[in-house]
C-alpha cells in the first residue's frame, strides 16, 4: 500500500465528498421538512428530485437545438434552468400531496407510506413514458457548455471544474435562502408552528393545509434544484436515477436527525464525505478486494446502524417514539 497515494488524493476526495454532500443535503431537506410536519416518509421525493433533472435537460436540449446555448450568457442559462427545475418540482410535490397523501392523512401510518411508494413507482414510469413519446429515448445526457468544463488547477494534483464551483455556490445559496425563510420570516414561523403542533397552530389562525402545501412546495423545489445540479455535475440521467440518491438523502436526513433542517444539511455533508472516502479508499486499503462498488452498502449500513443505535440522529432532535 502506497502511503503517498493515500495522502495525495486526500484533497481531491474531500472536494468530491463536499459536492456529493451538498447534493444529498439539498435532497434530504425535502424528506426532513415533510417528516417534520406530517411524520411521514415522502418516498416519492426521489422522483420529485429527478423531475427537476429532466426539466433541466429538456430546457437545455431545446436551447441547444435553437442554437441559443452558445449565444446566451451561461450564468443566465443556468439560473433559468435552476429556477425552472425548482418551480416544476415544487408544483409537482404539491400536486402529489393533494392527490395521493391528503386523502390519507388520518389513516394508519403505513397507509400513506405505501401510497408514497406507489407514487414513486408510477412517476418513474410516467417520466419514462413521456420521454419515450417525446424523444424516443429516456437515457438523456446534459448538453455540455465549454465554460463549465474548464478546470482550475489548484495544485499539481488537485483541480476543480467550473461546474463543481457552480454546484457548491448554488447549493450554498439555496441552503441559505431556506434557512432565512424558515427562521426569519412570518411564513417560516407558521411552518415551524405547524410542525410543532398542528392543532394549536390552527387555533392561532394558521391555515394548516396551506402550510403543509407550502412545505411540500419548498421541499420539492429544493429537490428539483438538486436535480438540476445533479444533471449539471454528473451529466447522465434516466427516470430511475433518482432512487438511489433519494434513499441516500433519506439516510442523510435520518443521520442528521429527521425533522431537523440543520441536521439534514449536516447529515448530507457527512454522508457525502463518508461515501467519497469509502469509494476511493476502500479498494486501496483492502488491496483491491473490496472496491468502490461497496459504497452503496456503506450508505445503507449507516442507515441501519443509525436507526438501531441512535434513531434521533446526530443533532438529536427529539423524535417522539411512534407506534
Amino acid at each position: 500500500m502506497d502511503f503517498d497515494i493515500l495522502i495525495g488524493i486526500f484533497p481531491q476526495v474531500l472536494l468530491d465528498g463536499i459536492i456529493l454532500g451538498f447534493m444529498y443535503a439539498l435532497i434530504a431537506l425535502g424528506y426532513t421538512m415533510v417528516y417534520g410536519v406530517l411524520e411521514f416518509i415522502n418516498f416519492a421525493h426521489s422522483e420529485i428530485f429527478i423531475i427537476g433533472a429532466f426539466v433541466g435537460v429538456e430546457i437545455l436540449l431545446s436551447f441547444k437545438s435553437a442554437g441559443w446555448l452558445d449565444v446566451l450568457p451561461w450564468a443566465l442559462v443556468l439560473l433559468l434552468v435552476l429556477v425552472a427545475g425548482m418551480a416544476v418540482s415544487g408544483v409537482a410535490a404539491v400536486v402529489i400531496e393533494r392527490t395521493a397523501y391528503r386523502p390519507l392523512r388520518h389513516a394508519p401510518r403505513l397507509i400513506p407510506l405505501i401510497s408514497a411508494i406507489g407514487v414513486s413507482f408510477f412517476l418513474q414510469d410516467a417520466i419514462r413514458l413521456f420521454e419515450s413519446l417525446w424523444r424516443n429515448s429516456f437515457n438523456l445526457v446534459y448538453p455540455t457548455m465549454d465554460v463549465l468544463n474548464h478546470r482550475f488547477e489548484l495544485t499539481e494534483t488537485i483541480d476543480i471544474s467550473v461546474k463543481s464551483l457552480v454546484v457548491i455556490v448554488a447549493a450554498l445559496l439555496m441552503l441559505w435562502g431556506l434557512h432565512s425563510l424558515v427562521n426569519r420570516t412570518k411564513v417560516g414561523k407558521a411552518m415551524r408552528a405547524v410542525a410543532e403542533d398542528q392543532g394549536a397552530a390552527s387555533l392561532m389562525g394558521i391555515n394548516v393545509n396551506r402550510m403543509i402545501s407550502l412545505t411540500f412546495l419548498i421541499g420539492g423545489a429544493m429537490g428539483g434544484g438538486a436535480g438540476v445540479l445533479f444533471g449539471v455535475q454528473y451529466s447522465l440521467i434516466n427516470p430511475y436515477t433518482g432512487f438511489i440518491p433519494g434513499l441516500k438523502a433519506f439516510t442523510a436526513a435520518v443521520l442528521g436527525g429527521i425533522g431537523n433542517i440543520p441536521g439534514a444539511m449536516l447529515g448530507g455533508l457527512v454522508l457525502g464525505l463518508l461515501e467519497a472516502f469509502a469509494a476511493s479508499y476502500l479498494s486501496l486499503l483492502t488491496g483491491g478486494a473490496f472496491g468502490a462498488e461497496y459504497k452503496d452498502i456503506f450508505a445503507f449500513s449507516i442507515l441501519i446502524l443509525i436507526l438501531i443505535f441512535r434513531p434521533k440522529g446526530l443533532l438529536g432532535e427529539i423524535v417522539r417514539e411512534r407506534a
Partner: protein, 421 residues
C-alpha cells in the same frame, strides 16, 4: 342474472362446468388468442365465487388445475410458463402476507429471502461451488434439488431471523426502510461477490443450474408418452409449483387460526396491549419474519431450477414492491386475496402488457394509419411490457385511497394494517 345463478348450487355448477369446457375448447381452437385464455382464467375465478357444494368445488378445482391447465400448456407452452410464474408469485405473496398482513410488519426487502433461496441451489446445483470449495464435487446431482427445497426454507428462515433480530426495536416506517436497505444490501452483495472469492459470479450470474430429475421417465416410456425434457419439464415444474402452493396455502390456513397467528394479529392491532396479554413480542416477530422468509426461500430454489440461469437482476427492489402490490390488491391478511392478487398482477404483467407490446409492434410493422397518424412513426422505445412499475404504482396508490382492505378482504376485518390508531 349471473349473480343469481351463482347463488343456486345446481345452476352454478352447470354454469361453471360449461364455462370451463367452452373456454378450454376455445383455447384449442385458437391457441394464440390471449382473450380466450383470459376467459379461461375468468372461469376459474367464477369457480371460486360460485356457491357450489364443497366437495364438488374441490373436485372441479382439482380437474381445472390438474388436468385442464396442463392440457392447455401442451397446446401453448407460454400458457404453462404463465401458470408457473403465477404459482411462484402466489407462494411469495402468501409468504409476505404473513409478515405484512398478519404481523403488520411492513417488509420492503422481501425479495432478499427469495434471492437467498435461489442462490443456495444455484451455487450448489451448478459448477459454481467448485470455485468456492475447490475440487470438482459439484454440481450436486439432480436429486439434491428436493433436499434443497428444505435447505432453502432453512437458509431463508435464518436470514429472516438475522434481519429480524436487530430491527425488532423499530416501528412502522423505520422498519420498512431498514428492510428496504437490507434487500438492497443482499442485491449489491450478489452483484459484487465475484471477488475476492467468487461466490455469486457477480452480474454475469450463475448457469447452468441443475433441474430436478425426471425419475418417472420409465413410466412415461411405458405409457408411450413423449419423454423429451423440453415437453416434460414445464409440466413437471408446474406440478411441483402446485404442490408448493398447496403446502403454502395449507400452512397459511393452519397458522392463521393457531395461537401463533392470533398472536401476530394481536401484535398488529396493538403491540402494547398484546404484550400486556403475555405475548412474547420478540419471539413472535422473529417467527413472523422466519415463516414469511421460509416460503420465499423454497420458492427461490424452485425458481433457480426453473430458470437454469440466475443473476442479481431478478432480485431488485421492484420485485419486492411487486409482491407487496399483489397482497395489497388482494387484501392484506387474506389468503384468497393474496392468491387473487398474485394471479391478477402476474397475468397483467406477463400476458396483458406483453400482449399489448406485441400488438403495438404488429401495428407498427403494418404501418396502419389512424386519424391521419401512421403508426409506423410510433416511438420504438414505447414498449408497454416495460411498464411494470407503473402498474405496481397505480395499484398501490389507488388501492390505498379507494379500498385499503383489498378486493377480497380478510374475514376477520381489521381496522388497519399498521399499529394502533
Amino acid at each position: 342474472m349471473i349473480t343469481r345463478c351463482l347463488e343456486r348450487p345446481a345452476l352454478a355448477t352447470a354454469l361453471v362446468v360449461v364455462a370451463l369446457i367452452v373456454t378450454t375448447w376455445g383455447v384449442t381452437w385458437s391457441p394464440r388468442s390471449i382473450v380466450i385464455f383470459m376467459l379461461f382464467q375468468g372461469s376459474i375465478l367464477l369457480l371460486y365465487f360460485a356457491r357450489i357444494p364443497g366437495l364438488v368445488k374441490a373436485a372441479l378445482t382439482a380437474i381445472t388445475l390438474g388436468v385442464l391447465m396442463p392440457y392447455l400448456g401442451t397446446i401453448n407452452a407460454y400458457y404453462m410458463e404463465i401458470a408457473i410464474q403465477v404459482g411462484i408469485f402466489v407462494a411469495l405473496a402468501l409468504g409476505l402476507n404473513i409478515v405484512v398482513g398478519l404481523a403488520g410488519l411492513l417488509d420492503l426487502g422481501y425479495v432478499a429471502f427469495f434471492a437467498v433461496g435461489a442462490y443456495s441451489w444455484a451455487i450448489f446445483g451448478s459448477p459454481q461451488a467448485n470455485l468456492i470449495f475447490g475440487g470438482s464435487h459439484f454440481p450436486l446431482g439432480p436429486w439434491w434439488f428436493f433436499v434443497f427445497l428444505f435447505v432453502g426454507v432453512a437458509v431463508a428462515a435464518i436470514a429472516g431471523i438475522l434481519l429480524g433480530l436487530p430491527v425488532l426495536r423499530l416501528h412502522g416506517d423505520y422498519l420498512a426502510l431498514v428492510t428496504l436497505g437490507f434487500g438492497e444490501v443482499i442485491r449489491v452483495l450478489a452483484n459484487n461477490l465475484d471477488k475476492p472469492i467468487n461466490i455469486t459470479n457477480g452480474p454475469k450470474g450463475i448457469t447452468p443450474i441443475n433441474r430436478p430429475p425426471i425419475f418417472f421417465a420409465p413410466v412415461l416410456q411405458w405409457l408411450g408418452l413423449d419423454s423429451n425434457p423440453n415437453v416434460v419439464y414445464p409440466l413437471y415444474l408446474y406440478a411441483i409449483v402446485l404442490l408448493i402452493v398447496g403446502a403454502t396455502v395449507l400452512a397459511n390456513r393452519r397458522l392463521e387460526d393457531s395461537h401463533i397467528g392470533r398472536a401476530w394479529e394481536a401484535i398488529r392491532e396493538d403491540q402494547t396491549a398484546a404484550q400486556a396479554m403475555g405475548i412474547p413480542l420478540v419471539r413472535m416477530k422473529l417467527l413472523a419474519f422466519a415463516c414469511g422468509a421460509s416460503f420465499a426461500g423454497t420458492v427461490g430454489v424452485l425458481f433457480s431450477a426453473k430458470q437454469i440461469f440466475i443473476n442479481p437482476e431478478s432480485f431488485t427492489f421492484m420485485e419486492s414492491i411487486g409482491v407487496l402490490a399483489m397482497i395489497i390488491l388482494g387484501g392484506m391478511g387474506s389468503i384468497p386475496g393474496a392468491i387473487l392478487g398474485a394471479a391478477v398482477v402476474t397475468i397483467l404483467n406477463l400476458q396483458i402488457l406483453k400482449g399489448l407490446s406485441l400488438w403495438l409492434n404488429e401495428l407498427r410493422n403494418a404501418g396502419i394509419v389512424i386519424f391521419g397518424y401512421s403508426l409506423a412513426n410510433l416511438p420504438t422505445q414505447l414498449e408497454p411490457a416495460k411498464y411494470e412499475r407503473m402498474v405496481f404504482g397505480l395499484i398501490l396508490v389507488l388501492m390505498m385511497i379507494f379500498r385499503p382492505q383489498g378486493i377480497l378482504p380478510a374475514k376477520r376485518r381489521r381496522r388497519e394494517l399498521g399499529e394502533g390508531s
